[in-house]
Structures are given as structure tokens and as C-alpha cells.
């Protein structure tokens, strides 16, 4: 067995391509493991820690592609080299030669090529994202900043500058936006309509859009602001800008704010802004019970309820909520003390996991999220679990579970095979950017798990976040689940509700 580092100089690749190349090489016979990354300082430290070494690795720069692999013999190593060469065929040394025509290589060049550009969308690795976003602001253009791992101080500086310039910086870590009917990042194909959304949670925005879509209510704009916008340091800078834009937007008749864990001072300031907005406003702070509504600003207890309130408003019925309305459709059950009857939730959407936790707690089902990364095949920690498989702990060196479900399917197999687990709670987010046909993989993983249970039943509840026009075919994905005996719900909150009912024995159908 030999640990080898192959370096290809001046060969920058994006993370999706790196993962693809790494996987291709890892799949070769005699190759035990392989990972492809750019030679940044952080990546090289990871490799040193993993036991890789050598002068080539020492010299590698962020412009050089590094493939670290363990091969059983020289033949396997040779195959790995060939596979790398094949994968890179046609990729010349980057940025050195000046002899051929090429696409724009910088923001400024691209804007020169299309001066009517009104938005710069950034999905480059985190360490480069702020630089690029600043260049967009230099050119007087707003930014959709999908990249994560952007330092907090860079976010603060970007948003301060954007505000001074009267521009938007949507992000960093902004998964979703819909502007004038055009989706960005992960987005569902929903009709244009009267509801304007400002959201610090990508899947929160998606779920709200899709619930509204089912009710036939369209969205004017969904302005993503990035997961940290409502933190104390960032101070809700872009939430404020986004709300002000929606207030002035003639296509927007009512406004929703969706976020997770706002800082108290920020929530207070935004409340004031919403109260003076001049348009009906609904707030959903994900993962927590409804706050008391005041000054005409309505705080919903779930995204479902937020959607209901918004629908009522646009249909001219006016909005009202009473705290007893909430989402209570089920009796609260007696908390199960039976350790042989467990619920495990495996989520792709972090905000949806938070919504599920919140509903489960309201039903008396207390869940924990494992402190350490769950490994496939490893024993589960005790108790009911809700896991966000899109968390950083699960996505280092691999794509988000909304794009690549391999990791989540492995966990479904290992949790589902555990005989103490009787209810499995899943979500599925459809739309552009997401996996092109996700249901079959999830069904296969559940069926493999069921096969390992010696006939003991495993109930599966899944929420499907998809619009009527999403490219995967929402109806088809739902039918595939139903055919496999899953209980299909339109939202994570309702799926959690149903899962709690099944766990507590209030509801007994669809158990196979």
C-alpha cells in the first residue's frame, strides 16, 4: 500500500469537478481511497494530517490540482495517473498562455461583454468569494452570493458597502432567490404572484414558495439574504434592504420574512420595520414556536401557517391568527418511554430539520441531534434523532445532499436497518439545482434497510418540497414514494406531525 500525491500545476478546477475526478479515481481497481483538491494551505494541512507528504505536496499552490490517493500496487497507481490525465485532457495550463481566445475571466470582463448585466452570481470557493463580490460592487452590480465559508468580517464589509451603494448582496451562504420569476441557486419553479419573501434560509424560502404554489398563490420576489444576516454582527443589513425593496415594489402585496435564530436586537428592529411597511407582513422564525403577534405583524408557528396567513391575505380575507390555531391537528401523545420504538429524521434541508424538531417537541417527542458526525454502519446514539445531513460535518469534501444523496442514503440504510428505529422521517427538496431524479435512490435505500430488518415494520414519512412545474416532476416523485409505502406530506412540519402520530400509536396506517 502506498500513499501518493499527484500534482498537476496550473490546473484550477471547481469543487464539483474535483469531486468527480476524485470519485473516478477512487473507483479504480486497487485504489483504496482518492481525493482531489486544489493545493490551498488549508487543503494541504488536511492532507498532511491524513498522512500524505512529499516535495510535490509542499510546493503545491492554490492554482495546482492535488490528487492524494492510496493504491495497493504500482499497477493501480499507474491506472490512477492515466485516469487523471484522461480527466484533464483538454484542460491546458491555466492563466499562462495568452495565445487563444477565451471566455471572460473576471467580473469586469464579463460585464464589458454584457453591459446590461444587472446581477453577478457567485459560487466560487469561499476564500475567493468576497474578492469577487467586491468586484461586482465595484462595477455597480448587485450580488447573489451562493458561496459559503466566507469570513464574517468580509460579509459585514460587503453588506455595508452594498448598502452605501444602494445595492444588494444576497448571501454569503445564500442557497435560494427568485427575482422577477427567475430562480437562482436552488429554486422551485413557481408562478409570479403577490407574495414577496425575504429569507435567511434557503430551504425555508423553498418550502414557503411550494406551499403557496400548491394553494395557487404566486411569489413576486424571494430575496435571499444569507444564513447569517440576522446575526447580531451583520445586523439584518440585507433583510432591511430587501424589505424596503418589497415595500416599494408594486407587484408585492404582502410580505413574508423567513429566518432562523435571529439576534434579539435584530428581530426587534425588523419588527419595527415590518410594522411600518404598509403591507401585511408575516414572520416565520424557523425551529421555534410562534412569537406573540403585535403591531399588525403576524408571527406564524410554522411555514404552513405562514402560507395560510399569506393566502388569506391575498384572497382579501384579511389575516388573523390565534395562538390556539397554530398547527395543532393532532392530540399531543404520551411521550414514549419505549427505547425499542425510535424515530430518526434524516434531512437534506437544515431549516426543514429545525421545523421538524420544533413540531416533534410540541408533540412531546424530544429529539436530539448527534454531537458527532454519524458514520454509516456505526451504532446510533440513544433516543429520537433528527440529523441535518447538509451540515458542514457531512459535506466536507462532498456535495450537498440536495445534489448528491450518497451520504444520506448510507445513513438511511444504517439507521433503517437498526431494529429499534420504527419511524424514519425524511425530506426531499426538488427544483432547479437539486438532484434530477432523487426519489428512486431514497426508495432503494429504504428497501435495502427494510430487507435487513427481519420483517419488523419500518414506517417512513417524507415531505416533498416541490412545485407543480419543477423539472423532476413533483407528482411523479410523490407517487414513487407512495408506491413504496411511504407516507407523503407536503411540508416538513406536517411530515413531523404524522411521524409523531405514528410513533405514539395515534396513527397506525402505512406501516409496512
Amino acid at each position: 500500500m502506498s500513499a501518493v500525491v499527484l500534482v498537476r500545476e496550473g490546473c484550477y478546477q471547481d469543487s464539483a469537478r474535483l469531486m468527480q475526478v476524485g470519485r473516478e479515481i477512487a473507483a479504480l481497481p486497487g485504489v483504496v481511497e482518492a481525493v482531489a483538491m486544489m493545493g490551498t494551505g488549508a487543503n494541504r494541512r488536511l492532507l498532511y494530517d491524513a498522512g500524505f507528504a512529499g516535495a510535490a505536496l509542499d510546493r503545491a499552490t492554490p492554482m495546482d490540482m492535488v490528487v492524494a490517493l492510496r493504491a495497493e500496487d504500482d499497477a493501480a497507481l499507474g491506472r490512477a495517473r492515466e485516469a487523471l490525465d484522461r480527466a484533464l485532457a483538454g484542460t491546458g495550463p491555466a492563466g499562462v498562455e495568452a495565445t487563444s481566445e477565451r471566455r471572460p475571466a473576471t467580473v469586469a470582463e464579463a460585464i464589458a461583454a454584457d453591459p446590461a448585466t444587472n446581477l453577478v452570481s457567485v459560487a466560487v470557493p469561499g476564500p475567493y468569494a468576497a474578492f469577487v463580490a467586491h468586484r461586482a460592487l465595484d462595477a455597480g452590480r448587485s450580488v447573489f452570493l451562493f458561496s459559503d465559508n466566507v469570513p464574517l468580517e468580509d460579509e459585514v464589509a460587503l453588506k455595508r458597502r452594498a448598502r452605501d451603494l444602494g445595492l444588494l448582496v444576497m448571501g454569503p451562504d445564500c442557497g435560494t432567490a427568485i427575482l422577477s420569476g427567475t430562480g437562482l441557486g436552488f429554486a422551485n419553479r413557481v408562478d409570479r404572484g403577490p407574495v414577496g419573501i425575504v429569507g435567511a434560509s434557503g430551504t425555508g424560502i423553498q418550502e414557503l414558495c411550494c406551499i403557496l404554489d400548491r394553494e395557487g398563490v404566486g411569489v413576486s420576489h424571494a430575496i435571499g439574504v444569507g444564513s447569517r444576516d440576522l446575526s447580531e454582527v451583520v445586523g439584518g443589513a440585507m433583510s432591511e434592504s430587501g424589505l424596503a425593496l418589497l415595500a416599494a415594489d408594486p407587484a408585492t402585496r404582502c410580505v413574508a420574512l423567513v429566518a432562523k435564530h435571529p439576534a434579539a436586537a435584530v428581530a426587534e428592529r425588523l419588527h419595527g420595520l415590518l410594522a411600518r411597511l404598509g403591507k401585511p407582513a408575516v414572520v416565520r422564525y424557523l425551529g421555534e414556536p410562534a412569537r406573540p403577534s403585535a403591531d399588525g405583524v403576524l408571527y406564524a408557528g410554522s411555514l404552513d401557517e405562514a402560507a395560510e396567513l399569506l393566502s388569506a391575505s391575498v384572497r382579501g380575507g384579511g389575516m388573523a391568527r390565534s395562538d390556539d390555531r397554530a398547527t395543532v391537528r393532532m392530540k399531543v401523545g404520551r411521550p414514549s418511554r419505549d427505547t425499542e420504538q425510535r424515530l430518526v429524521g434524516l434531512f437534506g434541508g437544515g431549516s426543514l430539520a429545525a421545523e421538524a424538531r420544533c413540531v416533534l417537541a410540541a408533540r412531546g417527542v424530544e429529539t436530539t441531534s448527534p454531537g458527532e458526525r454519524l458514520g454509516p454502519g456505526a451504532p446510533l446514539p440513544p433516543g429520537h434523532l433528527v440529523v441535518d445531513t447538509g451540515d458542514d460535518a457531512y459535506t466536507v469534501g462532498r456535495p450537498h445532499p440536495m445534489v448528491d444523496q450518497t451520504g444520506r442514503c448510507d445513513l438511511i440504510l444504517s439507521a433503517g436497518s437498526d431494529p429499534t428505529v420504527t419511524v424514519l422521517l425524511l425530506d426531499l427538496v426538488l427544483g432547479d439545482g437539486a438532484h434530477p431524479d432523487p426519489a428512486p435512490e431514497l426508495v432503494r435505500a429504504v428497501e435495502d434497510a427494510r430487507a435487513a430488518r427481519d420483517g419488523r415494520a419500518l414506517a417512513v414519512v417524507v415531505s416533498v418540497c416541490g412545485s407543480r412545474r419543477d423539472p423532476q416532476g413533483t407528482g411523479r416523485q410523490e407517487r414513487l414514494f407512495q408506491d413504496a409505502g411511504f407516507l407523503v406530506e407536503p411540508t416538513a412540519a406536517r411530515a413531523a406531525d404524522a411521524a409523531a402520530a405514528l410513533l405514539l400509536g395515534i396513527r397506525k396506517e402505512v406501516v409496512r
Binding site: P104, A105, T117
Partner: protein, 496 residues
């Protein structure tokens, strides 16, 4: 509604520029939005420190001041009007020239670190000046410090290849006749021709005999002819040559011909001895590169007009001594930022290979710095074979240089590019942002002294020089911002 405003996002339609993972723009494309994809490369080679310096210079509070400084520097560069005003003896006209001083190409270098061709030229220079009678004696004297060495650039001069200027050599004297910096003078020796020549490190009798002819006949005849003719507008001449297939560095045939035509009557009239006049005309006619030693000081003269702009990121010098490649910025004239001289990629004369080649050498990259040479490659499809390319590659090279320059020179129009001007004013920031290095056309010297030219081709500067300049400029701009009352100081002539 202008493109940039936020309202345009809500009024639609969206027009996107996208960088990074393509899947992120899939939704927008599916909705019918126009998406311009960028071939993203990590700026500044992805180095965190450089990235932060570069971001500060491009997007920070001082960035617009840097832009403005560059605009002023470029405007002065474009307004300058270098004229050939005289031919004189180096010791009489070059500032700071002395009997014990030899000037050389590139950044400062000691005898110990000098490459073969530069040592050869120094030996030749000592023989030519009568300071030694054998090559061995000359080498001993040089090693013992019998003469001092200093870069041409420290004396407003430039020299091709070894760039050796000794006190008794005849030199062209150029003067800026327009703009704010009118009166600025720059200097260059007279071109010896091809083959075994001093600038490539050759010092045989044939070389020395030619240098003697240039001192005794060519120099005085041209001096007299110029006096009779009056100043020659070199920019005007260069502009015509660019439309006749020259790029002003590796091809100077058209400009040489134009100069010959311009000066021939004055040469004849100013010279009593017809044979002497004929020999001078033959010499100029027989040397296609005669004008190189004018296009270079012309470039230097234009670039001197750009110097002294405290916040500017424009490059005003690129020069090599065969060991180091050095650049200077308009904001810090005299301060060198260096990296190792690179190997030239090109075609070799029969019998020579890459193994014979000396690393990149000479001040002639001043032409590219001024927006001609490699930057005007589109004007000279005939020489693109030196870099093994096609005429289309020539156009692409000039266009690519447009990506790292602050503007174009409308005075140097290129027919094949719709008469657009040559890309001019290398912006250090754009070099780092694009990772694209200046393209330099150049000759290749044999690595041993005394052999001469072995080929020609294309070379890039080392990235290290730009990295060092970036760090220094960022520091310089920070200092200026911290103390706006005191203009940023430009430390002079320190070799980092």
C-alpha cells in the same frame, strides 16, 4: 433604468454574470435569463495575503484614487511626443555617466552574478574602451572592480540584450516635445546589427571593429545629419511602421526603412566624403533592427512621463539582466521588484537548441511596457512564426494584453483590429487579478560569452516580480491613506 440599479432586479428581466459551480446558474438559465459564464481562476494565484492586498487596491477605500492616478499617468504617457534630437557621446550626455562607469540592462547586478552574455559584453566594453588588451585581462579587471556597474534605467537610458553602454559609445538622444513632461530626455546606443555583436556578449575583433566604425563614422555622420535635418518625430514614425508590419521589438524593418528615407538626404548633404555617407547608408540599410534602438528609448521617454504618480499601479519598467527580471511602478520610480529571468520559448537558429539559451535578457521589454512589441503583435503577423503561432494568435495576443492594460494608445492604431489602439499601461492589479502575464517578444542570447544570438521567441516575466510589487504598492497606499497630508514617499533604488 440603468443596468446596475437594484430596481432593475425587481423589474426584470435578469441578466446574469455567473462565476463558479455551473449548477447554481441552472435555475436562471431554465427561466430564460441570459447568463454570461466566467472562466474563474483564483485571483493573485489564490494566495490569501495577495488576495487581500489586491482586493484593497481594486475595491478598498483607496481604489478609486488608484484608478485616478492611473488615468493621469496614462494620459501623460499618451500625450508625450518623443523626438530624436541628437546623436552624441555617452559620457557627454547621459546623466551621471563617468569614465569608470559601465551601464547594463535590467536591474542591478554584480560581476559575480552576471550571466555569460553580459560578462562577454563587459569584456568587449573594456577592450573597446582600451582598458584591456586581452579578454582574460578584461575579465580580471572586471572582477577586481576596475569599473562600476549600474543599470541603464538609473540613467534614463535603455539598452537591448546586455545593454552595455560605455563612456565613449555614441548614443541617440531623445527628447519629449509635448505634454507636461516636455524636455525629458532618454538615451540608447546605436544598433550594431545581427550576428556576432556586443549586445549578445560577443567581443571578437570583428565586433570591436564594428564598434570603432560606429564611434568614428556612424555616430558623427548621424549627428551632423540630424543637426541639418532637425528633430525626428518618432511616435509619428512608429505609428506608420505599425501599419507596415512592425511591432517595434522583434520586427523593425518598416520603421528602419522610414527612418532611412527620412534621413538619407541629410546624411548625404552633411557628409563631405561620399564614401563615408555611402557606408553609413549601407550600414543602416543592412540592419533591419536599426530602429529598435529608437523604439526602446521612445518607450522609455513615454513611460517617464507616466512616472511619479504616488498611487499609480501602472508598470513603467520591465527589464532583465539575464539573471533577474525587474519591474518598476509609476508610483515608486527607481524601486525594483524582481524575480528570476525566465527561459524564452521560441525558434532557434540552425545548430542551436534550448540548452544553449541564456535566460531572458535586455531592456527591450520597455517596448511592451510602452504598449508596442508583444502588445502590438497583431500588427506584425509576419513574425508570429517565432512563437510558433498563426496570424490569429497574433491578434489574440494583442487582445489578451488588453485585459491587463489601463487603456489603449489611439496614436498606435492596428489595422487588423479595426484600427483600435495598442493596449497600453500595464496595470499591476489586472495582472494579478487575471493571472495573465505580459507577453514579451525577444531575442535569445547564447549562454556563453562571445557566441551571440541563437534564436528569438516569446517570454513572460516571472510572477514573483509582480507579487513583490503588489505587496509594496498595498503598503505604499496604506501609508498614503494613513497620512494624507504627506504624499506617499517613493524610496529610491533599493533592490528588495
Amino acid at each position: 433604468m440603468t443596468a446596475g440599479t437594484v430596481r432593475s432586479l425587481l423589474d426584470g428581466p435578469l441578466r446574469l454574470v455567473h462565476l463558479g459551480l455551473p449548477a447554481v446558474a441552472q435555475a436562471a438559465a431554465a427561466a430564460g435569463a441570459r447568463v454570461t459564464h466566467v472562466d474563474f481562476l483564483p485571483p493573485a494565484g489564490g494566495d490569501p495575503r495577495r488576495l487581500s492586498d489586491l482586493s484593497e487596491l481594486l475595491s478598498g477605500p483607496s481604489a478609486r484614487a488608484v484608478d485616478a492616478a492611473n488615468a493621469r499617468a496614462l494620459a501623460r504617457l499618451l500625450a508625450s511626443r518623443p523626438h530624436l534630437v541628437a546623436v552624441a557621446v555617452a559620457r557627454d550626455v547621459i546623466p551621471g555617466m563617468a569614465d569608470d562607469l559601465f551601464l547594463h540592462a535590467g536591474p542591478p547586478v554584480t560581476w559575480e552574478r552576471m550571466c555569460g552574455p553580459l560578462r562577454g559584453a563587459v569584456v568587449g566594453g573594456l577592450l573597446y574602451e582600451g582598458r584591456a588588451s586581452t579578454a582574460e585581462e578584461a575579465a580580471r579587471l572586471a572582477a577586481a572592480g576596475a569599473v562600476r556597474f549600474d543599470p541603464c534605467h538609473h540613467h534614463d537610458a535603455v539598452g537591448p540584450m546586455a545593454g552595455l553602454v560605455t563612456p565613449s559609445m555614441p548614443v541617440f538622444v531623445l527628447e519629449d516635445r509635448a505634454g507636461e513632461r516636455a524636455g525629458t530626455r532618454t538615451y540608447c546606443t546605436l544598433n550594431e546589427g545581427l550576428g556576432k555583436v556586443l549586445r549578445y556578449g560577443a567581443f571578437s575583433d570583428e565586433v570591436l571593429a564594428r564598434l570603432a566604425f560606429m564611434r568614428d563614422t556612424l555616430g558623427p555622420v548621424l549627428a551632423a545629419a540630424l543637426e541639418r535635418h532637425g528633430p525626428v518625430d518618432l511616435k509619428h514614425l512608429m505609428a506608420q511602421a505599425l501599419q507596415m508590419g512592425d511591432e517595434g521589438h522583434n520586427r523593425n524593418r518598416a520603421a528602419t526603412s522610414l527612418l532611412f528615407r527620412e534621413l538619407a538626404p541629410s546624411i548625404v548633404r552633411a557628409t563631405e566624403d561620399r564614401e563615408k555617407a555611402a557606408r553609413v547608408l549601407e550600414f543602416v540599410n543592412g540592419n533591419d533592427h536599426f530602429f529598435l534602438n529608437l523604439s526602446m528609448p521612445m518607450g522609455k521617454c513615454m513611460l517617464k512621463a507616466a512616472e511619479g504618480e504616488p498611487l499609480s499601479s501602472l508598470v513603467t519598467v520591465m527589464a532583465r539582466n539575464g539573471a533577474d527580471f525587474g519591474i518598476q511602478l509609476a508610483s515608486m520610480p527607481g524601486r525594483w521588484f524582481t524575480g528570476p529571468a525566465q527561459q524564452v520559448r521560441g525558434l532557434y537558429f540552425p545548430g542551436f537548441t534550448e540548452a544553449d539559451a541564456n535566460p531572458d535578457i535586455g531592456d527591450s521589454a520597455i517596448t511592451e511596457t510602452a504598449g508596442i512589441g508583444g502588445f502590438a503583435m497583431a500588427a506584425a503577423p509576419a513574425i508570429v512564426q517565432f512563437v510558433g503561432g498563426t496570424a490569429a494568435d497574433a491578434l489574440a495576443t494583442t487582445r489578451a494584453m488588453g485585459r491587463i492594460t489601463a487603456g489603449t494608445n489611439p496614436g498606435f492604431a492596428i489595422p487588423a483590429l479595426g484600427f483600435s489602439g495598442t493596449p497600453t499601461g500595464i496595470d499591476l492589479r489586472l495582472v494579478e487579478e487575471t493571472n495573465l502575464l505580459p507577453a514579451i517578444n525577444t531575442g535569445i542570447a547564447h549562454r556563453e560569452p562571445g557566441v551571440g544570438q541563437v534564436g528569438a521567441g516569446l517570454v513572460n516575466p516571472p510572477r514573483e516580480a509582480f507579487h513583490a510589487a503588489l505587496a509594496a504598492l498595498a503598503e505604499h497606499v496604506r501609508t498614503a491613506a494613513a497620512d494624507p497630508a504627506e504624499p506617499a514617499r517613493a524610496p529610491a533604488r533599493t533592490d528588495p
